[in-house]
Structures are given as C-alpha cells and as structure tokens.
C-alpha cells in the first residue's frame, strides 16, 4: 500500500533523508522511530505530498505522489504533530470542509460518530481558537478518518491527549489497520510503538538502521534476549551504528 524506493531529500548541503526504501502492506502498522533530526517528519511530509522529494519514488495506494498527487492524496490522511486548525471555524465546519474536499457524500453520520468516539460532541459548535491542544489533536484525527483513507500517517499522535483519548486513538488505529489501512506512526514514545506496531523502521540521520517486524528486531539484537523492551533494542541499534 505504501512503497518508498531510494527516497532522498536534501536541503542545500544537508541530507535530511538519504536513500530510504521501505514498504508498508495493507493492514500493517509501521513504527517510525529515531532521534531528533532523523528524518521522520520529512518522510511523512513527503509521503503526504506536502514537500517534494529530491529523488526517489513514493507510492501511495498505487499512485506516485509526485506524478499523480491528487489520486494519491485522495487515499491518504496525514495527522501532523501539532495540528493547526482554522481559528474562526467550528469543529463541525472543519469536518464539513474535509467532507467537501474528499467528496464524502452523506458525511453527517460518520462525522457524528467520530465526534462521539473522541468525546467531541459537546464541542461541535466550538470555534477552533477555543480548543485545547488535545482537543485540536482529536479534531485533526476525526477529520483524517472521515474519508476512510487507505493510508494514514501519524506524527506524534498522542501529544496532548488525555488517557481516554489515548486509549480511543490506539483502539481506532488497530481497528483501521484491521480494516485494511496501511498506517505509519512516527513517535518518540517507544512504548506506543511497541504496543501498536507490527513493523519497525529505525532512522538516524536520514538512513535506515533497521527495517522489519518488531519481533525480528529483538532477534537481530539477540544479545538483549527475547524479553528486551523496544527501548533497549532502539538504543542498541543506535550504539551498534556508532556516533
């Protein structure tokens, strides 16, 4: 469902991402982890068509995001790390706009269900400016789910969420994956990645240190034993590659 081949992104002399290749199958959840500046957000933003790649192919649901951006974008949703909403629009108006953008007919039922799922029903007519950080995050996720995307990209999705919101979001990600969506979750919360993801991509300085199922990561760094936490695996991977 997601295919990235030899992806490079360069800013003048800085290589944010260098030769990255990976695939995410339908129904899989890929955890994207790495230290600050590893290229996680750049990868997600390029996949979502916000920024162009310097080189390489990025395929979303069979469409090249550079050559056929509109069909690709129609099938994906991107939830940024600090979602900014339109200040003067209400929560419902955001959903109304997204429904119009993705041509979701009869969106009201879905939108109501999404609002209820994320405990936003009471905030339906509240303007975005008056929402807390966590509420904005929930609105962004509700908007992302509205058109039933085949590919969902989350950048630090738990930031600002309350415990109920965290549980709901995790359950909804599992549910979307079970329904066939390919999902990428970029996060510094390794426990979240361990909890949700079937596959793992460890990035550093724009390059892949490890790509494969989470269980394989444990096997690869077998010195840690099969009970090793993802945190231990992550630090061992970074140590093995040197500074």
């Amino acid at each position: 469902m997601i295919q990235v081949v030899d992806f490079h992104k360069t800013y003048r002399d800085l290589a944010a991402v260098a030769g990255l290749s990976f695939e995410v199958a339908a129904g899989s959840v890929l955890g994207l982890v790495g230290p600050n500046g590893a290229g996680k957000t750049t990868t997600l933003r390029t996949l979502s068509g916000i920024i162009p790649p310097t080189r390489g192919r990025l395929i979303v649901a069979g469409f090249d995001v550079v050559a056929e951006p509109v069909p690709a974008k129609r099938r994906l949703a991107y939830v940024p790390d600090d979602p900014r909403l339109f200040d003067a629009l209400t929560v419902w108006e955001h959903l109304e706009f997204v429904a119009s953008a993705y041509d979701v007919g009869d969106f009201e039922g879905k939108a109501e269900a999404s609002l209820e799922l994320f405990e936003l029903t009471e905030k339906r007519d509240t303007i975005a400016q008056e929402l807390s950080r966590g509420m904005r995050q929930k609105v962004a996720v509700a908007c992302a789910y509205l058109h039933d995307p085949q590919v969902i990209l989350f950048d630090e999705p738990l930031t600002g969420l309350d415990p109920h919101g965290i549980r709901t979001l995790k359950a909804s990600i599992r549910q979307r994956a079970a329904a066939g969506a390919a999902i990428i979750v970029s996060s510094h919360l390794l426990s979240l990645v361990e909890d949700l993801c079937s596959d793992l991509l460890i990035l550093r300085k724009g390059q892949s240190l490890f790509l494969g199922p989470v269980a394989e990561a444990r096997a690869r760094f077998s010195a840690l034993g099969q009970d090793a936490t993802l945190e231990e695996v992550f630090f061992r991977a970074l140590e093995e590659q040197g500074p």
Partner: protein
Amino acid sequence: MNRALLTLMKLRLRGAGRKVVRTMKRPKGALLVLLSVGLLTLLVLPSVLVRGRAELQVENAWFLDAEALFGLWLLMVVIGRGANAMVFTLPEVEFLFPGPFSRRELLAYKLALGTLAPLGTAAMMVLFLGRFSLWWPALALGVWMAFAFMQNTSLLLRLIGSWIVNLPAGWRRWLVAAAVGLLAVALWQARPAFAPELTWTDRLAIVESTWPARAALAPFEVFSRLLQTHAGAELATWFAVALAMNAAVVVLILWSDANFLEASLAASQKRYELLQRARRGGGMPSIGLRSKPRLSLPRFPRLGGAGPVAWRQALDLLRNSARLLFVLPAVIAMGAPAVMAGPHGLTVSVIVLTFFVSFLISTVMPLGLRADLHHVEALKALPVRPALVVCGSIAAAVLYPTIVQIAVLLLLTAISGQWPLASTLSACFVLPLNLLLVSIDSVLVLLYPSTRHVTAGDPLAGARMMLVYMVKYLYLLLAAIVPGLWIVAVNLAMGDSSDAIGVMAAGAWMAMFVEGALTVWLASWLFARFDPSLEDAVER
C-alpha cells in the same frame, strides 16, 4: 475553482462574521465596535464635507499617476508582497497541501483571495480618498484592478523566480546575462539624465521619456486613466482593458503551474515563526530585522525581582531587534541633512526626528507588558511582587527607545556640528515621554489583552489597533496639560530667560515623570488583578 476550496472560503467568511458578532455580545467588544464606527465616521467626514470641491482636490492627487502606481508596485515586489501571495497559513498548509487538490487549484484559490482582498482596500479608498476623485465608481474599480494587478504580477515574478532557480546552471547564466544586458540598455538610454547641471525633476522627466521606462509604466497608465475617468463609456473601456490585463496575468500564473509548494511551505513556516516571535514580544515582523542570538547582557541586580524581569526583556529586545539600534539612526542620518536644510531648520528637525523615533518604535514593536502578554502566566507565577514585575517589564522597554534616541541626537550633532538647546531638551524629555508611552500601552493591554499585530481572521483586529493608538496619543495630550500649564505659569512669572527655561524644563520633566509613575502604578494594580484564563484574546 475546486468546490471544496469555495466551501472553505465561504466557511471562513462566515467564521469572520461570527467572530464580530461574538465580540459585540461582550460589553468590551460592543464598546470596541462602537468606538470603531465613531472613529471611521471621523475619518470619513472630511471626504464627505469636501465633495463639492472635488475638482480642486483631483489636481493634488499625484498618487493616482502611473509613476506613483509603478513606485508602489516596485515597493510591493521589493518587500515581498508576491511572497505574501504565496504564503499559506499553517492550517491551509496542513489541510490543503496533503488534500486532494492540484497545484493549479491551490493557486486558483490563492489568486481568488488575492483578487478579492483588494475589494476591501477599494472600499476604504473610496471612503478616505473620495475627495480626490471625480467619480467614486472609477476610484473603486481602479483601486481594485490596480491592487489586484500589483499583487498578481508580484506573485508571477516570484513564480518565475522559483522556475529560474530550478533551471540548469547554464540556462540561469544566460538569463542573468540577458537581464544585465537589458539593464545596461535601459541605463544607456537614460544617460542624458546623469548630466550634473540638471535638477532631479529634469532627470526624472528624461528617464520617463526613454522607451524602457515607457514600457514599464504602460500597464500602470491604464489604471491611472481608469482611476481618473469621469464618464460611463470611458470607464467601461478602461475597466475592460484593466480586467483583460489582470486576466492575462492570472492565465500566465496558472499556465506556469510552478511547483511552489515547498517554497510556499518554507515561507509559511517563516511567517508563522515571525508572528510567534512578534506575539512573544520580540522582533519586527514587518521589516524582518533580527540579529543572531549571540549578543548577551550582564545580569542586572535583583532589585526585589524587577532586575531579572528587566534583564529578560532587555535581552529579548537586544537579540531580536539589535540591528534597529544601528539601522534606524543610520536611516535618520541619511535623511537628516535634507530635513535640516528645510524651512524649519535644525531646532525643529531635532525635536521632530527624536520624537519620531518614539512614535516609530512604539508603533512597530510590542513593548512592556504587551511584549510579555504571552508570558503573563509565567510572570504572575514568579515570587515577585506584581508592582516590581511591571516595573521590570516597563524599565527595559523605556530604556530601549531612549538609547536609540540619544544615538540619533549624537548623529544629528555629528552631521550639523551643533548641539542646540533643543537637543539638550530632547535628551532630557525622551525618558519621561517613553515612560508615558510604554506605561499607558501596558495599561491598555491589561484592559484589552491582544498583541498589536493583526491576527488572521480577526476582522476587528485593525479597529482594535487603531483604537489603541488613538487612546494612547489622546492620553499623551492629556498628560501634556499639567506640564503645559506649568510652562505657561513660569513664562508669565519669569519670561523666557535661560533661568526660566531651566525652571520650565525641570517642572515639566517632574510632572511628566510623576504622571508616568502613576500610570505604572495603575498598570501594577491591573496586573495584580489580571486573570489570563478569562482573556480569550491571549492566544495560546
């Protein structure tokens, strides 16, 4: 245009209207709207009253000439209004860029906004400048078309720039060589204008008669004619030409379909950071003067807690606007010889230029508690008495313009070789003047908490900003009453001897300082009672 993007425009318009209605429902908001309407009436009244003498006023309307319009366009290009046209707000970036929209659709959306926005400008122009026009429909249509053209051509230039940057180096070299060649031809054509015996007016006339200048001015001539027309048929003709020119530019932009997303994203991010910095209190987003954060200051003595607060704001001002300390005096130094050679002479120039600095700095930069508005929770949590927090915040903000003004005075002395009495008096009075300006601004921000820079989607932001200025300068006028009365009384009692001037100045200085101190006390009292959780204007 894409239907969803039209929906977005409609929803945003509705949101802006809702914001006004919500504001009006609150007493403070209703007062703001009432005052805005009153202010607008006062500003529009002169236009209405002199309508009968329109023909006399039209003769003075040099700003409707093609040359003036070209100058304005050039300014828009230089200060990056084209880049503004490409700047999407961050919500737009996050919702529209990953959305199912083609680049052309996004460009069309921006173009539609860029073409509709000058309608507001046109309405304001008709209200304020109606007396300079023979026929208001011509003025309205002319301003609309001219501003849309300026905005769109500026955007087109930016897109061409993006396209050139992505060309192979060889092509780029050829294009640069062609541009340099064109410039050389234009300069060659204008060479008679460099004769030393000519006046500036003659030189300008020679340049305007060259074919490159005529070609550059030609499109603006259309708008100038449209603006100054006063007959239906003539209006229809020039409007059709102006509309066709705008349509051609729009077609060119859509045809170019340049891959602007990344450049736009970078510009949007930069704009967001500038706005955030302005809201935090540093920097001058309008002219982007900012130094690297390497400059430092020794810690100030604690002074009960006021010292660290003042140190923090001083450091912020130094790091965000340090270049202003050098650039502003330099700009003034360049203009000073012409001003001092004018009819008012050195004395008046000194006073005007020094006080202009106060006005300029307090206009373009949030100072005092306005600069600290987004830190107000942190400041209130400090183990420091509210009065000392306010004193600390205001002290640095008063010292900053004072230092710039002293630098200006020294520069004027260096240029003129004289230190008139006006310089001494100005040097003495800038401190209480700045104290009054910053302290009243701090009082106002505690009553109406908002940063000065206009917030996108807030239609009342401009009105609020104008009201703040009006109240501030009205307060200054009121504050001048006591020192003024003192000066009159001393003048009556002692005449205008040098002793009398000293007594006048000392008394007036004391009066202004006491008034400033009382205003600081008022700000402290308000700060102690300020509840940031109740103020939704304090953006989080």
